[in-house]
């Protein structure tokens, strides 16, 4: 989009370039304008105007639909991600420290991360039924690889000089892990948890779309089944907003918690 601006008025871009938020606001306005235009044609009856979606969005906030749905999705998401967080970081730690476990565990997680594991979700119903546990499993399935692999990389790549320093000053095996290896890896471990949450959220939504519709996923399928497309698109918009806002906040927290120097050299 900016390309066009650049062609039309070189001067306008020069002025705007030093105020990035102006550019961003302009591009958001442009995309929403496109959406509105697409809705007015309409591209298809199932494609609502942005204004209708916004109205539906406001309505869903006031009548508590969003609150109820997100509370229901949050259940399996939080349980699932905290399970993987504890298990994943531990697995990453062990794999980072012992080459035998690394040999055994690493390929499996690399395989899991590269494979379209979403296809397994419909299967989960056969073991865990269609309730809460199935959704927790879906969240774990999708969030585990990124958490484990990041924790492993954080632990396995502790700078050699720090390890030698630990030995030179007689840090025992336990102290070496607690006072040097884990702090050095904590930047990457936290990044892993952040990505794990995003993947977990995808897992939760997928489970709700593929297994039994509850929570946020159900908003999409329910409003689609009664052809209330403004509310369906409002639900999709809410998912994107919630996800990007929470991930950006986590990134800010990560920057503050792990000052630049924290990232291993």
């Amino acid at each position: 989009m900016t390309g066009l601006i650049q062609v039309r008025g070189g001067r306008t871009v020069a002025k705007a370039v030093d105020r990035p938020w102006l550019l961003r606001a302009a591009s958001i306005a442009l995309v929403l304008g496109l959406w509105e235009w697409g809705g007015t044609i309409p591209v298809s009856i199932a494609f609502p105007k942005f204004s209708e979606t916004l109205a539906a969005f406001a309505g869903m906030i006031t009548d508590g639909t969003f609150a109820g749905a997100y509370a229901e999705t949050a259940g399996p998401l939080i349980v699932g991600v905290s399970l993987t967080a504890v298990g994943g970081v531990l697995a990453g730690l062990v794999m980072g420290l012992s080459s035998r476990t690394e040999w055994l565990g690493l390929p499996v997680f690399i395989v899991l991360q590269a494979s379209p594991s979403a296809a397994i979700i419909p299967l989960i119903t056969f073991i865990y039924g269609i309730g809460f546990t199935a959704k927790v499993f879906a969240v774990v399935l999708l969030s585990a690889p990124v958490i484990v692999l990041n924790s492993y990389r954080g632990i396995a790549n502790t700078p050699r000089s720090l390890l030698e320093m630990g030995d030179a000053f007689l840090a025992g095996r336990f102290k070496r892990i607690v006072k040097i290896v884990i702090p050095a890896g904590s930047g990457l471990i936290f990044a892993g948890l952040r990505l794990g949450l995003a993947q977990g959220f995808t897992g939760a939504v997928l489970a709700e779309l593929l297994i039994t519709p509850t929570g946020v996923g159900d908003l999409i399928t329910f409003y689609r089944s009664v052809a209330d497309y403004p509310r369906m698109f409002a639900s999709i918009l809410s998912i994107i907003l919630v996800a990007s806002v929470s991930v950006t906040l986590l990134q800010r927290l990560e920057q503050r918690l792990f000052r630049p120097e924290m990232r291993p050299a």
């Binding site: 000089s161 030698e164 030179a168 000053f169 025992g172 050095a184 000052r259 924290m262």
Partner: protein, 273 residues
């Protein structure tokens, strides 16, 4: 180095009682072959007199740092032995503290916590270890930076934290691996002064690896010159530079310049072959 006693070579008194004369560290016929089959050391033998600064110099890749790390117990020797005060050692111990070439500071910890880390690992309570650390941080001239983080300091300042950390544990022997390699020339000279002043107050034995001849001659009581890898000891010399007159005077004194030339001549042989 006024309070230094000149070394005498009386025999070691039986029973290992530390006679001021006997060497603090004895390296006997040390050899090291790395996993890939690279032979780094081929029978290195020398003594480190107690309370003195001995530097190890030699062509690059001659195993200076390897020798130092074996003495520190960070590397195992393939054969040969290192004795500290008469007893053989193979692992790091409280009697030795190491100053790393690349500083090895914890990026997430402040200057004070880094300096106190050696004591922290020994379980010394916080108040006590921070008091000691604060003392040495002041001695290396960084008291205004106690709460700063490593990434906020210059290379030189970071190395001082490494030095403070090594001194704080009050080990008898200080091992320094090219501590001033990553510092520019002007600051380097000042560091050499500070180091000598500091060591005069602390009764330490120092082993100092460097590739700078001027630095070796200026700071050392004894210099171990090593041959090209797989290295042996080519010569052990004692420049005996009189430090009483202040650095400007010393750096121009004929004795100092002669020694620099002699060592240069010795090392040059290895560069050509």
């Amino acid at each position: 180095m006024t309070n230094r006693t000149s070394p005498t070579s009386e025999p070691t008194v039986p029973g290992g009682v530390r006679n001021p004369g006997d060497p603090a560290v004895r390296v006997v016929d040390l050899a090291k072959v790395f996993a890939g089959g690279v032979r780094a050391l081929d029978g290195v033998t020398f003594d480190i007199p107690r309370g003195e600064l001995t530097s190890i110099i030699g062509p690059s890749g001659c195993g200076k740092t390897t020798t130092l790390k074996i003495i520190a117990g960070l590397l195992d020797a393939t054969s040969g032995q290192v004795e500290i005060n008469g007893t053989p050692v193979t692992r790091p111990g409280p009697d030795r503290a190491f100053v790393f070439q690349d500083f090895a500071l914890m990026p997430w910890a402040t200057v004070l916590r880094n300096a106190a880390f050696g004591l922290e690992l020994r379980g010394v309570p916080r108040k006590e270890r921070e008091a000691t650390a604060r003392e040495y941080v002041a001695k290396v001239g960084l008291s205004r930076f106690e709460d700063a983080y490593p990434h906020q300091l210059s290379g030189g300042m970071r190395q001082r934290v490494g030095l403070a950390r090594a001194l704080a544990v009050d080990a008898e022997i200080l091992l320094m691996d090219e501590p001033f390699a990553s510092v520019d020339e002007q600051i380097r000279r000042k560091f050499q002064e500070d180091l000598l002043r500091l060591l005069s107050e602390e009764d330490k034995t120092v082993i100092f690896v460097t590739h700078s001849i001027e630095e070796a001659v200026y700071v050392s009581d004894q210099i171990v010159i090593m041959t090209r890898g797989p290295s042996q000891v080519s010569k052990v010399v004692r420049p005996g530079v009189d430090h009483s007159g202040g650095s400007g005077h010393i750096r121009r004194s004929p004795a100092y310049l002669d020694w620099v030339e002699r060592i240069w001549a010795e090392l040059q042989g290895y560069l050509e072959t």
